[in-house]
């Protein structure tokens, strides 16, 4: 059995954070922390060094786009999955341009989330 990958959940909604935690495969991922703002996410990212990050885009203090830029400058190989409502496609594209690797549209079901996370770490070594 392989060691589960460390996961950090970034979302200002408690409900969504819990939903993501429930939807992530327990054998494959272990949620090591969560953050409700971009600022908190950076601190947790530095401290916990997660393998995978799920990132909301609309958050207080620091939005997801800026947070992604920061995380990528800390670790250019950070695996970030944007989990956000699709209000504006250009914003989603900008998040990927900043370094995120995938986009999961809210609302999502657990299977979609699980599939997206697996796809995100498919070539992980």
């Amino acid at each position: 059995m392989t060691v589960p990958l460390k996961m950090l959940i970034v979302d200002d909604s408690n409900i969504i954070r819990r939903k993501i935690e429930r939807g992530s495969d327990g054998e494959m991922f272990k949620v090591v922390g969560s953050a409700d703002s971009g600022v908190a996410a950076i601190e947790k990212f530095k401290a916990l060094k997660p393998d995978v990050v799920t990132m909301d885009l609309t958050m207080p203090k620091m939005d997801g786009i800026e947070c992604i830029s920061n995380l990528i400058s800390i670790d250019p190989k950070a695996r970030i999955l944007v989990v956000s409502a699709l209000s504006d496609k250009a914003t989603g594209i900008e998040a990927l341009e900043k370094g995120a690797r995938g986009f999961l549209c809210k609302p999502f079901d657990e299977k979609k989330l699980s599939d997206a996370l697996k796809e995100l770490v498919q070539d992980y070594v």
Binding site: L81, L86, K89, A90, G92, I93, L96, E97, R101, G102, F103, L104, C105, A116, E119, L120, Q122
Partner: protein
């Protein structure tokens, strides 16, 4: 290793054969060339042997001639020594193989002559040379003049005897060696020719083999290309490849040109293909999206939600200079080669039909919802009353349409047209409210608002009436839908239970008692809206045998009278209580046939009656008459004012009052049927409107009705 060569085996064998052949020919060439070179030395030295025989004879004679001259003798003797040694060494070398000197004094090695003719010449030469050589050796070795002369004479004798023979033999040797050399050269030529021939054959084999292979490959490629073309010509999608610079590839499906109005996309930038068709922002977002697909770390499957062109509406110019609206769906898929992202495959689908179908479904759904809403809105109404209402509505629409069609640019006529339309709409609204057909009432109210707005406009133009035509159109459509629904309902009810009381009555059937219930409802509704309490008591309505025309008119007048009674006469409950009246006001509507045959409708209320002072002050506000004149108006004169178009004493405009057209309509309708109106009012106590129509006012229709009944 060998199996790894695969289809290249043949070429490897061919090339190896070619190299071996070339190496063999080259080796033979070298070998024979060296042999020829050796032969050339031999031929040369054999030729020199001929010359040496003659030089030896000459040296012998020179020695004799130099007798007495020591210097000459010495020279001749040296020459003899040299000639003799050279001939002897060379002959030995030809005979046994070995070294000798060439013309330059360099040492050369001669191989033993093995040819038959050569051997014969050498063996004979040796026999001749042996005594001759001995004689010369004596000359060289001789000391003293006498010995010299003697040995010289004997040598000259032998020379004279054998010289020519020796010369001939050396000549034979030379000729023989030349023949051998020629033979070698011939062999070399054969070998070269053979080698070159074989090389050419090998080359030709390789060439034909390759041409065959190339042809086969070409055919394969051609077949593959044809298959690809067939696929691209057949698929229903627009297909093309984009490279990293977002340039469109050379191959594309035929459908692509079809979708983009015949545009050849090959080699174009993606932006050139769709730039004119989509919004600049969408184009920019789409380009950024495609660029993401070229980034290996981005998961292609996880960004499809961000595709800005998954459904896009475009307008493509057509041949007639117009535009065709299409709905397209673009899908982008990565194309990798050897793990490297090379291209993005773009699949364009024309989803116009699907989009249209979806819209149609949506519209159908909306229509369904609307019909349900309509159904709810008419369910409470009596089918007979509803049918009459719809008929009245279409009549009113016809009249409005007629007014709208009147052509005139005169402001006065246009104002009159607006007034006439307003009266019709207001009347219609009143009837709708009475029947609680709220949707109709709302439509009509909005219609009224727009007419009011136009009435207040300083200048009117024909185009201003367009808005009203639109209102009319939507009212007609709505009414048609309701009619359709009402017909269905009626037939359904009829089919379910032919004896049911809810079936639709025909035009000539008498009205049932429930047909007047809406007036009671109207009284309740208007009271509620005005925050008043009023009760309507109907008398004689059900008993009076009247035809459709009379019914329509009675209905219309009753609605206006009842509404006016509630709005203008019945007081608010607290006010009534203060006056010692019952909180709930009473309105009595009575319909009766007088002994004279006249039809009489009276509406009586126990409200505050007519407020003449309010009418007077309103008359002053209008400014049509001067103050002194208004002050002098009698009650009778003031009463007549309420029948003027646009005159209302209501303080606020609402659904039930304030437009100032209710009494105006009443007056018009009464006049239309040669009726009379009587108003009696006692301030603070009551008010009564009584309308009387002549017995024959509806006669024509009565006859029709009779005939209808007989038939």
């Amino acid at each position: 290793m060998w199996s790894a060569l695969g289809k290249y085996k043949a070429i490897v064998v061919s090339i190896a054969l070619f190299l071996i052949l070339d190496a063999s020919v080259l080796s033979l060439n070298f070998f024979i060339s060296f042999k020829i070179a050796d032969d050339a030395v031999g031929v040369n030295l054999a030729g020199r042997q001929r010359m040496l025989t003659q030089r030896t004879v000459k040296s012998l004679y020179d020695l004799r001639l130099a007798e007495g001259d020591t210097v000459k003798q010495e020279t001749a003797l040296n020459e003899l020594k040299t000639t003799y040694n050279l001939f002897n060494t060379t002959l030995t070398a030809f005979d046994k193989g070995g070294e000798t000197k060439n013309a330059n004094g360099e040492t050369v090695v001669l191989k033993r002559v093995n040819s038959d003719a050569g051997r014969v010449a050498i063996d004979e030469a040796k026999i001749i040379w042996q005594p001759y050589s001995d004689a010369i050796a004596k000359v060289i070795a001789a000391s003293g003049t006498a010995a010299m002369a003697q040995s010289l004479n004997s040598a000259i004798v032998i020379a004279g005897d054998k010289n020519l023979l020796l010369l001939k033999l050396m000549n034979d040797l030379t000729v023989n060696l030349e023949q051998v050399a020629t033979h070698q050269a011939t062999v070399l030529r054969y070998i070269q020719t053979g080698g070159i021939t074989l090389a050419i054959i090998n080359f030709l084999i390789i060439l034909f083999h390759f041409i065959g292979e190339l042809r086969q490959n070409d055919k394969f490629l051609e077949d593959a290309r044809k298959e690809t073309t067939d696929i691209l010509d057949t698929v229903n999608e627009g297909l093309f490849l984009l490279d990293k610079d977002l340039v469109i590839g050379e191959q594309q499906s035929s459908q692509l040109a079809e979708i983009f109005g015949g545009k050849d996309a090959r080699g174009l930038k993606f932006s050139d293909l769709i730039g004119d068709l989509v919004k600049p922002k969408d184009l920019e977002t789409a380009q950024r999206f495609v660029n993401l697909l070229f980034r290996p770390d981005v998961k292609g499957n996880l960004i499809s939600d961000l595709n800005p062109l998954n459904q896009v509406e475009i307008n493509i110019p057509d041949e007639d200079g117009g535009y065709i609206t299409r709905h397209l769906s673009f899908e982008f898929s990565r194309v990798s080669k050897d793990g490297e992202l090379k291209n993005v495959l773009v699949t364009v689908n024309d989803i116009t039909e699907q989009v249209m179908l979806a819209r149609e479904l949506e519209e159908t759904k909306e229509k369904g919802e609307q019909q349900l809403e309509m159904l709810t809105s008419i369910l409470h109404a009596n089918p007979g009353v509803l049918k009459r209402f719809i008929q009245n509505a279409f009549d009113a629409y016809g009249r409005i349409n007629k007014i709208l069609k009147e052509q005139s640019k005169s402001p006065a006529v246009m104002q009159r047209k607006l007034n006439d339309i307003f009266i019709e709409v207001h009347n219609f609204k009143g009837e709708a409210s009475a029947l609680e057909l709220d949707n109709f009432a709302e439509y009509a109210h909005v219609f009224e608002d727009d007419i009011q707005a136009l009435k207040q406009q300083s200048k009117l133009a024909g185009n201003d009436f367009l808005k009203l035509a639109v209102h009319l159109e939507s009212l007609i459509r709505y009414t048609e839908s309701i009619k359709e629904l009402a017909d269905k309902l009626a037939s359904f009810a009829f089919n379910q239970d032919p004896s049911s009381s809810v079936r639709s009555p025909t035009n000539h059937e008498n009205v049932t008692s429930s047909d007047w219930k809406h007036l009671t409802k109207l009284c309740e509704n208007v009271s509620q809206r005005d925050k008043k309490q009023a009760q309507l008591v109907l008398t004689g309505f059900d008993e009076a045998k009247i035809n459709d025309d009379a019914q329509k008119l009675v209905n219309e007048l009753s609605i206006q009278f009842i509404r006016n009674a509630v709005v203008h006469s019945i007081e608010h409950p607290e006010f009534r209580k203060a006056r010692g009246k019952h909180e709930t006001g009473r309105i009595d509507a009575r319909l009766s046939r007088l002994p004279t045959g006249e039809l009489e409708l009276s509406v009586h209320d126990d409200g505050c009656g007519i407020n003449y002072e309010k009418i007077r002050s309103k008359a002053l506000m209008i400014g049509k008459w001067d103050k002194a004149e208004v002050e002098k108006f009698t009650h009778q004169q003031l009463l007549s004012l309420i029948f003027l178009p646009g005159f209302s004493t209501a303080d606020n405009q609402n659904e039930d009052a304030g437009r100032g057209v209710g009494m105006d309509i009443i007056k018009k309708r009464i006049d239309q049927y040669q009726g009379k109106i009587k108003v009696s009012s006692s301030s603070g106590k009551h008010c009564q409107f009584t309308v009387t129509f002549p017995a024959d006012a509806f006669a024509q229709n009565e006859i029709d009705t009779q005939q209808g009944k007989v038939a």
